[in-house]
Amino acid sequence: MDRRTVLKGLAGAGGLALSGLSAPAIAQGASARTLRFVPQANLANFDPIWGTQYVVRNAAALVWDTLYGVDSSLQPQRQMVESEEVTDDGTTWTFKLRSGLKFHDGEPVLSKDVVASLTRWAARDPMGLMLKALQQELTAVDDRTFKWVLKQPFPKMLYALGKNNSPCAFIMPERIAQTDPFKQIGDYVGSGPMKFAKGEWVPGAKAVFEKFADYVPRQEKASWLAGGKQMLLDRVEWIVMPDPATAAAALQNGEIDWWENPIADLVPVLKKNKNISVDIGDPLGNVGSFRMNFLYPPFNDVRARRAVLMAMSQEDYMRALVGDDNSLWKSLPGFFTPDTPLYTEAGGEVLKGKRDLDAAKKLLAESGYSGQPVTCLVAQDQPITKAFGDVTADLLKKLGMNVDFVATDWGTVGSRRAQKTPPGQGGWNMFHTWHAGSDCINPAPYTAIRANGDKAWFGWPNSPGTEKEVTSWFEAKNLDEEKAAVARLNKVALEDVVYAPTGFFLSYTAWRKNVSGITKGPLPFFWGVSKSA
């Protein structure tokens, strides 16, 4: 390369730089219709039935629509469905789709697509599995009508089809929905308000969604997953940022527009910035938890589990997580999400009032605990579990227990917690996690409350009383019956210590002030969101 070539190159670079300087004015309109969003986690895959992570569901809600959608009052509302009929005996449901629904490839949404989608969903979702067990037939009657015939009534049908916990009953074209539910789809065609730009997807870094011009929104006002999903943006870019400090700087700098969940430590900095709004993101928050393994000593004895509950302080857990910000947490003498219709504190006395360490020690001794190591799994790469684990280690030591503190990563905890072997042979005694509050509003999506022994979630709690009340809730015919069933459930689950709730906590979301229309909810909703230049 000679001197002249270098100079030409530099001049070209200068020209490009100058053109870059002029770009904002020219591209202002386009920029205002593009929202740059930092999600809670990396969108590593994009099949909302195969992978049930919240981040996948959140992205999927843009691309795939549902037959019903839960609104902000937690009620399922019609979404793709125009009408439904149920026979008097409650066993035959006939649904009619709205007219004009189209997939992103231009094909109309037909009943056969719905039947295939519901079949795939029902193979993976707990409520879907219940429906599948009751199913006599699920068939397309005509292009816009389909029928679901059950062996016995399932009163929670509409909730199942519209719920927001993973996996949601998203509707895909038949050719995609016919994929084995345990294999991942590779074609991301939906009928939702945005199309997935597969060509621009860099897993772990960026995912792009473009407005679907042919989407037909409902006429009602949007409310969570229900109502008119009016897209005011042309393009939504999800930018994955593993480092919270970088995300905070990028938001302050205007390089991103909305950060889904800033960590509590950085919130004061964001609040000081006059261009940034900060508010609670999801009013349904999260329920902190640690699970004790029912299969092996000491926690196979209910007295040992109760001793832990008697001694634990939820405030310690919450302070470790959110610091001094009292607006971010509540004590939770139960299992269900506060400020939701079924919330109850029935039987919650054990978690209230002054902690009684001496009584707990006495009860632990009665359980026969004699100093054997208690294997406590803690994922150190998750701030929430790390904070909880540190508090638990201290708690167990105060109780006089011999703690085998296994500090590791989430991948290892996830794998090891599935081991049913004794703690000394690769198993465990306890692990920490948390549950989205939207999953704890009733027993349907609440995997962690189930206590059917070997079939239950990790920890394999066995509490026939709890299971009986779960069934009572499913059979309840009205809200009063539901409330009564859940109150009984809460009491018995606390008595048997299905798991230990460590408190209810919220987190913030933050956005630039030129963005408007952001609503609080269990997932980020982009409909109704707009951005000014």
């Binding site: 490009l16 990396n42 400090a245 700098n253 794998s415 599935a418």
Partner: protein, 313 residues
Amino acid sequence: MLSYILRRIASTLPVMAIVALFVFSLLYIAPGDPAVVIAGDQASPDDVERIRQSLGLDRPFLIQFGSWVWRILHGDLGTSIFTNLPVSTMIGQRLGPTLSLMMVTLLLTIVVAVPLGVLAAWKAGSLIDRAIMAFAVFGFSLPVFVVGYVLAYVFALELEWLPVQGYTPLAQGVWPWLQNLILPAIALGCVYIALIARITRATMLEVLQQDYIRTARAKGLGQGGILFVHALKNAAVPIVTVIGIGIALLIGGAVVTESVFAIPGLGRLTIDAILRRDYPVIQGIVLLFSFVYVLVNLMIDVIYTLVDPRIRY
């Protein structure tokens, strides 16, 4: 020389095979299960097992390894467990940002570190020398992420000169490409500038005491000619070696830098893949990195012969 280069490239194949076997075995025995991560926190043990089966993770070690080797021999790095995308596509997506970062860092390092080292050697014992060496110690001691945060705060947040994060491909213009790389390159380059400046100074000091330098001075050659024509060329072999080692080390440093500046490069892909236990991606990246290491060593050997004609293979 050509036959030497070909032999060296051929010799990389068994090295890569051994590395691959080692990595595959290590992952196999390491705790963690991608099926658990895929299934999500609320999944039942049965769901996890079904996913394991569908991904073939329940098959014996030798079958999994054999099938992987077979695919590699057919030029197929496999498919990511998580994204369902070919590993080669994922690596291809991430290669540009990492190569760009390494290239700019390397350029910056050489342009800054070598003159600093020469200057320090020339002014040995002076205030300038001490200042340069103090800077070197400082640069060497600061962790990349600390330098990164400080740079981002000053130049992005306060002065608003440069962006905090991201990557723009070169195809969209030199300046847009460069402006995303300046801060990360400085953050990543600090430690290498310090290292290479010190090595340059030390080797230059040694060379400057040689008889032929004295002769050059006696002949009345200017200081610039002595330093850059006679001394630097003869001091180049150790400097080139350190730069070569630096390239290899840059790959490691890029992991942190890419996270701090949200650059979608191979470093971040590696960390993500390890945390998720995305075995095919990890294996593909390790193979690539092994190849890069071997290639860098080969290039250093070739450069030796150019800077010192006495070296022959």
